[in-house]
Amino acid sequence: MIALLIRDLRLALRAGGGFGLGLAFFLLLAVLIPLGVGPEGGTLAKIAPGILWVGALLACLLSLDRIFALDFEDGSLDLLATAPIPLEGAVAVKALAHWLVTGLPLTLAAPLLGVLLHLPGQGYGWLLASLALGTPALSSIGAFGAALVVGVKRGGLLLSLLVLPLYVPTLIFGAEVVKRGAAGMDVGVPLALLAAITLGAMAALPFASALALRINLR
C-alpha cells in the first residue's frame, strides 16, 4: 500500500501530472473574485470564508478524474483489482494520494489568499483547521465520483455534476467554521460536524468506490 502511495505521488509530481494546476486555479480564483466584486475591503472580508472554501472545492474537483482514469486506460487498475491488497484499501490510498497533492497544498496556500481577500485576523487559524479537516472528505467523495464515471468517455463534466451535490454538507460546515471563526464566535459545533463528515466519508466511501470500480471493470 505504501508502494502504491509512493507511485501515485511520483506520477502526480512528475511533469504533466497536473500537480500545481489546482493551486494555480485557486490563486486565479482569489484574484478574479475581487476583480469582479470590487476592491472594497468590507465586502471582501465578508465573503472571503465562502470564496476560499468554494475555491478549494473547485480546485479539488479539477484533478478528480485523474485519480482513476489514467490507471483505467493503461490497465493498471485491473492489476490493482486482482492484487493481494483489497481494492477498498487501494481506493483509500489513492484518495489519500490525491489529498496529499491537492488538499494539503490548498490548505497551506489558503491563508496567503486570505490576505488577498482581507480575511479578518481571527479567521486564519480556523481557515487552516477547517480546510485541513474538510479537504480529506473532498478527496474521498471525489474518489467515489471518479470511480463511478471511470468507464465513461470524457466524463469530466458528468463527474462535476455528480460530485458537487455530494460536496454540499462539507462546504456548508467548512465555510461556517471560517465565518464564525472570523467573527470571533464559537466554532465547536460546525467543526465537530465537519470532522464527523470527513471521518464518515473516509471510513465508508472507499467501499462504495471499490464497488463502483468493480462494476466498471467487469
Binding site: 463511478l148 465513461v152 458528468l158 455528480l162 451535490p165 454540499v168 454538507p169 456548508i172 460536524l193 462494476i215
Partner: protein, 243 residues
C-alpha cells in the same frame, strides 16, 4: 404467491396492463375534482387571498418529489441485492417523473412566494434542499444516459442512489443548520392540534394528494413497461443482426 413474482417482466407487464386502466383515470379524476374544488370552491384566505390555493398543486408535488426519490432508493436496493431487472428499470423510470415534481414544487413555490414573501427565491432551508434534490435527480439521470451497457448503468446508478440518499439527508440537516427558515411548517398532519389546516382546504388537498400519488404510479408503471419493451426490442434487433 409472493411479491417477487412481479420481478418477472412478463408478469409485471401483465399486471401493469391491468392496473393502468384503473390508476390512470383515478389520477385524472382526482386531480380534476381536487383542483377544480380547490381553485374555485374554497374560500379565500383572510391574509393570503387567492394565492393560498397554490397549495393544492404545491404540497402534493413536493411530497411526491421526495417520495419518488425514496421509491428509487428502495428499487435500487432491490436491484443491488436481488438483481431483478424490473426493479432497476422502475428506478430509472421514476427519476424524470420525480424531477418534474421537484420542478413543479419549486416553480409553484416561487409563484406563491413572490406576492407573499415579496421574493421569487429565498435561501430558505426547505427551498435550498429542494434545489439540491433537483441536482441529485439531474446527476442520477445524467449517469443513466452516460453509461452504455444497461446492466453497468443500473449498477452504477444504484450505488449513486444509495450514497446520494445519505448525502441528501446530510444536506437537508446541514442546510437547516446553515440558515433559519422562512417557510412555514407542514400543517397537514396537525389535525386535532392547535392551529390546524382549515377543513375547507383539508379535503380538496387530500383529493389532490390521492390524485398525484395515482398519477405517479401510473406514469412509473407506463414508463417501466416501455423500458421493458425497449429492452426486448434491443435483444430482438441484436439477434437479427447476428443471423
Amino acid at each position: 404467491m409472493s411479491l417477487w413474482e412481479y420481478a418477472n417482466p412478463k408478469k409485471f407487464s401483465e399486471t401493469a396492463a391491468r392496473v393502468l386502466p384503473v390508476v390512470a383515470p383515478l389520477a385524472g379524476l382526482c386531480l380534476a375534482v381536487g383542483l377544480i374544488w380547490g381553485f374555485f370552491f374554497t374560500p379565500e384566505d383572510y391574509k393570503q387571498g387567492a394565492t393560498v390555493k397554490i397549495i393544492f398543486l404545491h404540497v402534493p408535488a413536493a411530497m411526491m418529489a421526495i417520495n419518488a426519490w425514496i421509491m428509487m432508493l428502495v428499487a435500487s436496493l432491490v436491484w443491488i441485492v436481488r438483481r431483478h431487472h424490473v426493479s432497476a428499470l422502475a428506478a430509472r423510470a421514476a427519476a424524470p417523473v420525480g424531477m418534474v415534481f421537484t420542478l413543479i414544487a419549486l416553480a409553484t413555490g416561487a409563484f406563491w412566494g413572490q406576492p407573499m414573501w415579496g421574493t421569487w427565491w429565498e435561501w430558505d432551508p426547505r427551498l435550498t434542499s429542494f434545489l439540491i434534490l433537483l441536482l441529485f435527480y439531474l446527476g442520477y439521470i445524467a449517469l443513466w444516459q452516460a453509461v452504455e451497457d444497461p446492466d453497468t448503468a443500473a449498477d452504477l446508478t444504484g450505488v449513486l442512489c444509495v450514497v446520494g440518499s445519505v448525502f441528501a439527508v446530510l444536506s437537508r440537516y446541514a442546510v437547516k443548520f446553515w440558515n433559519q427558515g422562512l417557510h412555514q411548517d407542514s400543517t397537514i398532519m396537525k389535525v386535532g392540534e392547535k392551529d390546524p389546516l382549515d377543513p375547507a382546504y383539508y379535503w380538496p388537498l387530500i383529493v389532490c394528494l390521492i390524485g398525484i400519488v395515482a398519477l405517479f404510479v401510473a406514469l412509473v408503471l407506463l414508463r417501466t413497461v416501455t423500458e421493458i419493451r425497449l429492452r426486448r426490442l434491443a435483444v430482438i434487433e441484436a439477434r437479427e443482426k447476428q443471423e
